[in-house]
């Protein structure tokens, strides 16, 4: 008897769950479907859901008309570049704060967090003017610098919360055995820190890939990553939905997959360790 009730309950929740999931995912699903249509098919009314002539034409058009690949490379260089430089700066800092904490460590961490809360418009004008004077507007280098800086606090924080979980006794033991600082880092710490560093890397690539304030304001035709390139479809004459969908599908697919792998780290990284 009790079993029958739980099964019925489970079936009910299965139906509700899948319906809700479908509705929330629908805009993405619709984008993917539309990317395989012709332009005429894309604006058909009533809409054609599955029964249309599937074509890859839009994908070819997007590449041939606007050199799509260049913008993909911009996104890759900017997101990976800023994340790797950020890690190189943040790993030593987070290591020091986790294993040799001083009275001021907490204040330093809090101050780093507070820089993340500075709204970007608070520094938009000077950054724009400095970049203009230094020739960094619309360059990959300029965007790498900006994205490194805006994500550095998150990188330091995430690494710090991961490093904090490595037991300090192991380090003490290796020190007693006469390991130097360099050996301690290479042989003891690194193997234990790799999972945390990998999660941090993943989350930051996602954040940098989707960043859409600085990339829109500081880039034009040359260095525009996908966020800025796709924004160019907003012009009224650019009502090419199949092409918009093809460009969008390619832009979100890799990050969607990375994101699905990193859902746990997302909670931790974006709440600065406040929710685990």
């Amino acid at each position: 008897m009790a079993r029958a009730i739980t099964t019925r309950r489970k079936v009910t929740f299965t139906i509700i769950g899948w319906l809700v999931g479908f509705v929330i995912f629908f805009p993405i699903l619709w984008t993917i479907l539309t990317s395989f249509k012709t332009e005429g098919e894309a604006i058909a009314s009533p809409p054609h859901f599955l029964f249309f002539d599937w074509t890859l034409q839009s994908y070819f058009d997007v590449q041939s008309r606007s050199n799509y690949f260049k913008h993909v490379m911009n996104s890759v260089v900017i997101s990976f570049g800023s994340t790797l430089i950020g890690l190189a700066i943040a790993i030593p800092a987070a290591w020091a704060m986790a294993f040799s904490p001083t009275k001021r460590t907490k204040d330093v961490l809090m101050w780093m967090l507070s820089t993340k809360m500075l709204p970007p418009v608070g520094v938009l004008v000077p950054i724009y003017l400095l970049f203009r004077d230094w020739g960094l507007l619309d360059t990959r280098l300029g965007l790498v610098i900006v994205l490194t800086m805006i994500n550095l606090p998150i990188i330091v924080w995430m690494l710090y919360t991961y490093f904090k979980e490595i037991p300090g006794e192991i380090l003490e033991a290796s020190r007693m055995d006469g390991a130097s600082l360099a050996k301690e880092i290479i042989y003891v710490l690194t193997p234990m820190a790799v999972p945390g560093i990998a999660s941090t890397l993943l989350l930051n690539i996602i954040l940098a890939w989707n960043e859409a304030f600085w990339t829109l304001n500081l880039s034009a035709a040359n260095a525009a990553p996908l966020t800025a390139f796709i924004a160019s479809y907003s012009s009224p004459e650019g009502l090419f939905w199949a092409k918009l969908s093809a460009a969008s599908t390619l832009a979100i697919a890799p990050i969607l997959i990375l994101g699905w792998f990193s859902q746990r780290q997302l909670v931790r990284g974006l709440t600065f360790g406040a929710v685990k």
Partner: protein, 290 residues
């Protein structure tokens, strides 16, 4: 001796991060503050002169500022309301065992990974378009007049788009918190005869309170700076109907080239964000000690 060496090594290791962040924060902020006190327009180079608090008076008394402030509050408040209520319901749903739970969870969190310009354009064109959009089709299906969402309800439409993007974030955090709730506590309450609603109000909700606070504070920080969604859908219009503070400062700086006025606006935005940030920093600081 060894500790002394480790300590100075530690300081050395922190230097690059601390120094770069310090320069990144303090130099542009000081420049913004300085510009905000100048009469400085990029269209009139070499004409900079001291303006005192004129930019602030001008910015704060501009009717656009009042409209943008109200819009910012409505946008942040609306998105928070939708994501907290919706996120709680979704978290409760995803906490139930059902077939294909893992896949549904992936579907629900997907919008968070879609870049803002893509989600804004997809909603604007393929969903909200008054003739060809899905919403228009659904409206006609029920014999209703399709709504021109972005023209007639611009702020509401932007709120919907942004809420769709942030719903997964709230869901994921509330779900994580929900799963850390002690099962025995719920069972004990059930045995004492508490119904599902009173169990939710007296046990689940208090347990979620902290996670909800975190969601509210973190979302507020990000939502105060919503920009791309407005830029590609409405351009802040019609009029100032969907302009928020961030967009207003952007327009002042890069469309009107008014460096002084935009800087004053930037400083006002910093002050607004700091009010929220103080609460968040305290909350996380408390957590760091525990």
């Amino acid at each position: 001796m060894a500790t002394l060496r480790t300590r100075s090594a530690a300081r050395l290791m922190m230097t690059p991060a601390v120094l770069t962040l310090f320069v990144w924060m303090i130099v542009p902020l000081a420049m913004t503050l300085y510009f905000s006190l100048l009469r400085y327009n990029l269209l009139m180079p070499g004409m900079e002169e001291w303006a005192g608090t004129l930019n602030y008076r001008y910015f704060l008394t501009d009717p656009a500022f009042g409209a943008a402030l109200v819009n910012t509050l409505l946008l942040v408040g609306g998105v928070l309301l939708i994501t907290i209520v919706g996120g709680t319901l979704l978290a409760l749903l995803l906490d139930q065992p059902f077939f294909g739970q893992g896949i549904v969870r992936l579907l629900v969190i997907a919008p968070f990974f879609v870049m803002p310009t893509v989600s804004a354009l997809v909603w604007k064109n393929m969903l909200m378009h008054p003739v060809y959009g899905i919403f228009a089709w659904i409206a006609r299906l029920f014999g209703l007049q399709p709504v021109d969402w972005l023209a007639n309800l611009p702020l509401f439409s932007v709120t919907m788009i942004v809420a769709w993007q942030w719903l997964p974030f709230a869901t994921l955090i509330l779900l994580t918190a929900l799963q850390s709730l002690d099962e025995e506590q719920k069972e004990a309450a059930e045995m004492d005869g508490a119904g599902p609603i009173s169990r939710f109000i007296y046990i689940v909700l208090p347990h979620l309170a902290r996670a909800m606070t975190v969601v509210v504070l973190i979302e507020t920080i990000f939502l105060l700076s919503v920009f791309a969604e407005i830029l590609v859908t409405t351009n802040g219009g019609p009029g100032y109907e969907s302009t928020n503070i961030t967009y207003l400062v952007y327009a002042q700086a890069l469309l009107q080239f008014d460096v002084g006025g935009a800087s004053a606006g930037g400083i006002v935005a910093v002050i607004l964000a700091n009010i929220v940030a103080i609460f968040l920093i305290r909350l996380i600081g408390k957590n760091l000690e525990a």
